[in-house]
Symmetry: C2
Subunit: 564 residues, 2 copies
Amino acid sequence: MSNVLRVDMSRLRVAVEAAPDDWRLLGGRALTSHIIATEVDPRAHPLSRDAKLVFAPGLLGGTAVTTSGRTSFGGKSPLMGGLKESNAGGVLGHKLSKLGIKAVIVEGTPEDGELRVLYIAPDGGWRFERAGALAGLGNYATAERLLAGASGKTRAVVSIGPAGEWRMAAASIAVNDPEGRPTRHAARGGLGALMGAKGLKAIVVDDGGVRNVEAADPAAFREAMLAFSRVVRDDPRTHNLSRYGTAGVIKFVNRDDVQSLPVKNHRLGTSPGAAMLGGQHIAALGEERGGRMLPCMAGCIIKCAVLYNDARGAQVTTALEFETVALLGSNLQVDDIDAVARMDRACDDLGLDTIEMGNAFGVAMEAGVLPWGDWQGVLQLFDEIRAGTPIGRTLGGGTAHVARTFGIDRVPVVKGQGLPAWEPRTLKAMGITYATSPQGADHTAGLVTARGVRPETLLKASRREQLIMAAVDSVGLCQFSNPVEEDMARFVSAVHGTAWTRDDVLTLGRRVLLEERAFNQAAGFARDADSLPEFLRTEPLHTSEGDQVFDIDDALIDAFWDFE
Amino acid sequence: MSNVLRVDMSRLRVAVEAAPDDWRLLGGRALTSHIIATEVDPRAHPLSRDAKLVFAPGLLGGTAVTTSGRTSFGGKSPLMGGLKESNAGGVLGHKLSKLGIKAVIVEGTPEDGELRVLYIAPDGGWRFERAGALAGLGNYATAERLLAGASGKTRAVVSIGPAGEWRMAAASIAVNDPEGRPTRHAARGGLGALMGAKGLKAIVVDDGGVRNVEAADPAAFREAMLAFSRVVRDDPRTHNLSRYGTAGVIKFVNRDDVQSLPVKNHRLGTSPGAAMLGGQHIAALGEERGGRMLPCMAGCIIKCAVLYNDARGAQVTTALEFETVALLGSNLQVDDIDAVARMDRACDDLGLDTIEMGNAFGVAMEAGVLPWGDWQGVLQLFDEIRAGTPIGRTLGGGTAHVARTFGIDRVPVVKGQGLPAWEPRTLKAMGITYATSPQGADHTAGLVTARGVRPETLLKASRREQLIMAAVDSVGLCQFSNPVEEDMARFVSAVHGTAWTRDDVLTLGRRVLLEERAFNQAAGFARDADSLPEFLRTEPLHTSEGDQVFDIDDALIDAFWDFE
């Protein structure tokens, strides 16, 4: 059983269609990007009736493989104008796969402009309800009401907050974690605005306790799974993530030679206050305050999500990620981790990308809208976003939008999307990834921290990592499980009854990148879209190894696409 | 004598350089576009230190040829991101040529962030003064103070209003008319923001009563001039312009078969109230109220500028153009010409492009920011623009910016620039011009009103007109003098002592288009930049000749660039 739910918001109907044969070995990002590339006019406005929002579990969704339950969301990006894939953890992916749903395609826009909730039942039944009192609510209240006492494990709630309802270009889509919190976000690229334009406040998926997907070759599957779990468990990176979460990396990025911590709208690469933002400090606070590490989905053995409590022991957030801490913290000259946690919660509740908002506030501070370090001012401005006031709309429009509003020329975006924390001036392969990825400035598209090697080597490393990550996002694994090609080939073969090799995995990755790039070109991205903001080439970081700018030649960057 | 003034705003110095030999037969748009293309990194941010603002008179500047005193302004567009040329009438162009100034190139940004005025004296002397109390003033008060009793004929004031100071992407650059009013604007593409980013409030040019440029072949020049003046004078189009101004065309565009009057954010193409906005009505009011027709520069025999008084006889504006009346009038469902005149004056004073603002307010009304027809609300919002409040900044950011702010998907822009009044659904050649012109949605780039002919014929007509207009903008003539290639060849030959044929004129036009396009491509414009907003292809206009959408094939549009 492998179905596609086609959700027609114009006629308020859901059609259950058998998935085409040639989608069989596509999942996650490979499938969402393929559907958008083949079904959406690249020139359609991202918020128009002709736009589509797609989501799909990965090829390993519904199995017991650790971290395999991620869900890809795809569409033409309201933020960037290109083909966007943004994936999230949480409980959705496994449920879709277990219900035999290979993809959900949301089309059209409601004639009456009303906001609705779509319910999907275990038996394939569906119904729409008016959002009613949910309209305008944050993701926390929305998830709580839609869970209605059900466990976050048995029910998935996919929702947008006010930012998505306002169709803001920095709006995210939230998915709940196993404890019911709406803290796992398909954050990047403004897909929350696309969901808002479709008139969907939320989608609720119950799996009715159905069992895992059965592998075509159970013995091979079991063997692969045990081996993979062992490798993940023994990986020192796992140990760090399990203890300190993703913010544990601040110790490394804040080093004088690395300088990969954005400070003051990416002016500096280190901060004396960084230790107060680091995972080690968060873990120490957690011991005092009753914090703990959580899995974001069933079956994850890494558990890098941080349940963060305030000084009185009240829960604030479960997603205090490195990127969030860097962009909403050091980038704004805030080194109070409690303040960052509150800003993070505001983003989760409003349904906003923390990376985009950290950059947007950085530019707003550069413009003098509020002083550096003024996190109370940021919290007040989140209220303006909630209310949809002009300044709120401006900020919710994202980094480039704020820069244009205030006439600022230091604009930390690539292809219209705000820069992640990883610094292209010192970690130059990251610049190559940001420049070439069809996903714009996206660290998850291909994270390479190599330094001190030849540009050609960096290019190859970025390319290899981007191919692998495109495959990882397509099988639905979390990047923190660090699968190699052979892992993915073995799993896909065992689950789907095929005989994949590592080459097939790379072929899948290549297909994804090329299909996304072709859409982007048809949608209007030219060579310059593959370049970094001017200031990264002209304003050096003063590191212990000398002044560093991003100085990789365009010609070399263009060679990225010389795939075999 | 043929000099270039290089104005270094970082060091507050002006260098007088001899113009390179190969610039000898470049002027106006050909020269500004060439300087930007060769001196500015296409990837530089339009507001950065590396950006440049250039202005240049045409090849016939400083002569007595009627309408030959236009000035081209060029830069990387803060609105569009591509190579912009925007030209204006007024008294500047002739003065520059008479002083032997072939181009002014403004570079750098002031270290202290202060706003300044640059004075250029007849003897080539220059000085900077702090803008002081001029900062924040509108163009009217600025021009009045900087003229300081001098005649608008002997002194040219080039200035920005608050919009340019705020670096808003819809900001224009104002040039005074012979009576000293700042009503001639290089309006399109946001070059006022570029001037603001350079820290220049105004440039004052005195010509000291110096004589006209002498032609290399005075006899041939005189003969050509007399012939051309006769043709212009006898042209029925001149008669209409001289009597009714450019808004006289409303009678034609409002016809049921033509439907080229934007109504309600380009939803409709005709309006029952159109006659109240037309040139005939304006002329009739002028007779009652003491209005009159004016030349915008010395030596113009067309005199299409309308001095418009209010009901009490007080001057409101001298630039009540068709585009202004259509975009700020019918497009906003306003058919009170007094209201339009007040909005026009607000745009001139704030330094804003009326076409861009008409589109921006249309989108704002679509978003419910204010009701259709609410011109009082528009005037209040102009005050917000003046004050630089968040909603003011949003509106001043232009059409696409407002659309993104409010999540609106009917976005009337091409290459980021708001649509002029001329309607691509009925006048399909205009769609070809908007799509292909390196200047984006710009009716002056190639105005073709042919209907009922084959698409291939429309394409050829658009191409021919764009080549001619690129030449017209380079010799510095007004399009309303309707010069043909032979006119321009004869004038350039006589003035510059060369032997141009019509082919040389077309070669100049071709050079301009190709140089601008190459810059745009390097700056990030791909195929999709050459397409019209979705709604023009999907929402028909119901004309007396049937439903009309813009339905020219992309393949045909792409063939535009198959020159020869």
